[in-house]
Symmetry: C2
Amino acid sequence: MGGHLLDREAVLAANTAFYQAHEEGDAITMQSLWMHDDDRVVCTHPGWPTLRGWPAVWASWHQLLTLANRPQFIITSEQVDIGDTLAWVSCDENLLGSGDGATVAAINIFAREGGSWRMIAHHGSTVIR
Amino acid sequence: MGGHLLDREAVLAANTAFYQAHEEGDAITMQSLWMHDDDRVVCTHPGWPTLRGWPAVWASWHQLLTLANRPQFIITSEQVDIGDTLAWVSCDENLLGSGDGATVAAINIFAREGGSWRMIAHHGSTVIR
């Protein structure tokens, strides 16, 4: 039970670090948060097709993290579900930035790798109604 | 390892049954595929905000399953990842129906409940570029 609570905190911390790295354009941290795996990793940015495998996923982040106008995130409604080897977080990304802002509905999935929880899936979609 | 393969097949079967129930407007099967849980279940239909908890999720399906023009699905790029108590599937929903059709990127998460894998999360987003 203590382990479960620690896992919960570790997964939430990884989720928070993911958005912070995005906000700050921190490529090194972003790389370290993901599992580098060709068969398990997927990423679906809002409106994009699903990118599969670490090279394709990383190429997209490399592009997004170097944009001049990265959004600021206020993350709400975080809901965490922990398994033995997989965990997932559902949350709302409230984007501040140029323009009117937006809300992106997101699911992030993490897998245990050694002592760490690494992101293996990110799926975000803009709320339009 | 045999169990792992059986889990993989069970999760894929649940994923297939989910789309078949949607196509056929089969409310009874759709209900049976989901975990009925207030704290774990989420569902994000394309462009919708995330619905949280079984009552809200079921209300949306009750509405969608009674639409006259439900889409037909051709599911491609299914990718399955199995943990001890959680599993997830990434796939592309190729929608046939009235209009030009569309592709929806999807992630479906399942949790083991007794001997079955029940859906606890569905997230779909329309590919627009």
